[in-house]
């Protein structure tokens, strides 16, 4: 029941951020499940795991 406008927004944001299709699908599903009251906290962890962050630069 996720509106196409939201789907398009997910796609656009993922494209800008250089996320792959797998991530895009997972993110859209996370949103859809939130809207359907069908979310488990582990879904959030799984999605967070897919986000790659660069190693912190050395600064002190």
């Amino acid at each position: 029941m996720i509106d196409n406008a939201i789907r398009r927004a997910v796609k656009a944001v993922c494209k800008v951020d250089g996320m792959n299709e797998d991530y895009e699908r997972a993110l859209a599903t996370l949103i859809e499940n939130t809207m359907m009251d069908n979310l488990d906290t582990s879904d959030i962890y799984d999605l967070l795991d897919k986000i790659e962050v660069e190693e912190p630069a050395d600064e002190d």
Binding site: A5, R8, I31, M35, P56, E59
Partner: protein, 650 residues
Amino acid sequence: MKIRITDWRCDNLRIGEGTEVFELGDPPARWSLVQMPNGLGKTSTMTLIRAVLGEEDLSVEKVRGFRANDTVESGTFELGLLIEGRGGGQAKHYRLTADFDFKAGTYRYSTLRAEERGGGHEPGLVLPSDLKHILKPEFIKLFVFDGELARDIRDLNKAAADHAIRTLYQLDDLSRLRQRIRDAVSKRQEALERTSGRTQKGVSRHQKIFDEAAGQLATLKKALAEKKSTRTKLKREQEGVRTQIEEHIARSGDLNDRRLKLSKDANDIASDIQTTTLAALIAYRNPATLSPTIRSRLTNLGTVLTKARLPKSVSSDFFDEIADEGECICGRPIGDAEREILKHRKEQYLAQDQISAIAAMKDRLNSSATSETSFSATCDTLHGKLEDRQANEKAMDRLKQEAEERGDEDMGPLTERESEINVELAALNIDIERLETADTAKQRSYQSTAKTNIPLAQKHLGECKATLDEVEASFRLSRQRDSLLDQLSRIEKKALAELREVIRTETNDRLKTLVKMEQLRVKRIDGALELESDKSSSKDDVSEGQSLSVAYAFLTALLSKAPFELPFIVDSPAVSLDLDVRKEVSKVIPTLFEQMIFFVISSEQAAFAESFYELEDTRFVTLSKTADGRIETHYGLDEFKRQSGEGIAE
């Protein structure tokens, strides 16, 4: 999915004491006009419909506000729904009920599903789940239409239009999701117990600690390698020096003979010591040979056991056996009571196994007798051998000294160097052990730390690595969370922008047919609806009628996007409209929704209610108050017209 209202019922509510039923047909008519004089509870009916649909929280004052009069203590509101599932199928009836206790100011919601077996009221709101989760109070206001909303969606300060869009498309869920993500990450970070790691600085600090630990370990390993290499060199030198000393001694024949003898003795003594030590250790491990004292203690214990007649000939197992037999050894029968006593009393007797554990000691003692060698005798022998070794070493020293005294000039420096090397080697051995021992007792005796001992340094490094990993994971998680939260904000913003545009276009399409006199358009939606017309680019001075038209256009545009076909219920839709506008509006309104329920007053007949007179699928309900204050409900157009004609006071 299609949701329609079939009826509602009021018991002891604002409308009056007793029961009032409003039936809209089953299936309900597409249009229902409910004519109700002011003061009979139109507003509270709307409120009650919203309350049961959204399981709304109600204040005590609000609950008491529904009360018919001071004599009634309880009341009920019941709303009948007909819901068609997705993809058609049999429509099902649901009755949503609110029971009120006016004295306590409390309420209770329940649902009755007529088609479900074993019916009865189920607590709370029980509706198909995909419908239930969007039936939030804010959303319900859109179709159980709140007149305030008509004004609010144009109020730039209230953002009601955005709110409605966000509600329908569940964009608010994205905000909720963001909060859930924050909570989930906090929870995981708390589990990591490394609060310092959530910042870049924390990561750098722990990286530094790790690097230091690694550096320390490397330093210790280097030191160990150096010491070991020194030891190897010294041992080689020691061997060389010893050979030289032996050569020097060998030059004088008699000394050499003595040296050979002493060396042979030393070997024999070492071998004897080894054998005797082994024998002593065997005697040591046997308590009976370790000391006569212990042996006598064991013997005495044996005597005690014998005197105490232990082990007893009867063991607890015996009682169990009798109890389970059913008959005592004396032939009497054993019933439940006797069995109980037997099982209970056996606790006082020692179990067979425990007795035999120490009884075995008696047997062992008797069989060993005194044939075993005593520890003290063996140790006496060992003592003697150790003394022999010492004497042998002294004799060897003397020999070296004699060789030196005989004028062998090189002997002095050589023996001196030999003892120097011995001292250095002993020190080195200790240093090396201090560096590399993994034995905790030894580490304790050296007071070792991660700065002085390699295994401890390695362990410390491992701990630092684990901490660093955790800290990095925690920091990583923070960054992942921020990244996801940012994405969700942008998605929400982008989606809202697009949806505003979709709704704006739709609204304008509808406005074209609704307001024909002056072409009004929604210029943009930014919180509220901003209007423009052909005449002016910014239109603020719209009439009440125009404002309502805009609201209808907006709402129908919006609800046409809903995943459900919803009924539309509105209170006094035409009251504030000019007759001209009414005519226009009433031409368009009937087509807007699949089911529409209008609460009207008599003055709305002209140019509005009358436009429904010719429409077939319309139900007219008329409420009136009799002279003695009772409420009467009439169905049909005739009564509806009659009441309107009479123009009951508003």
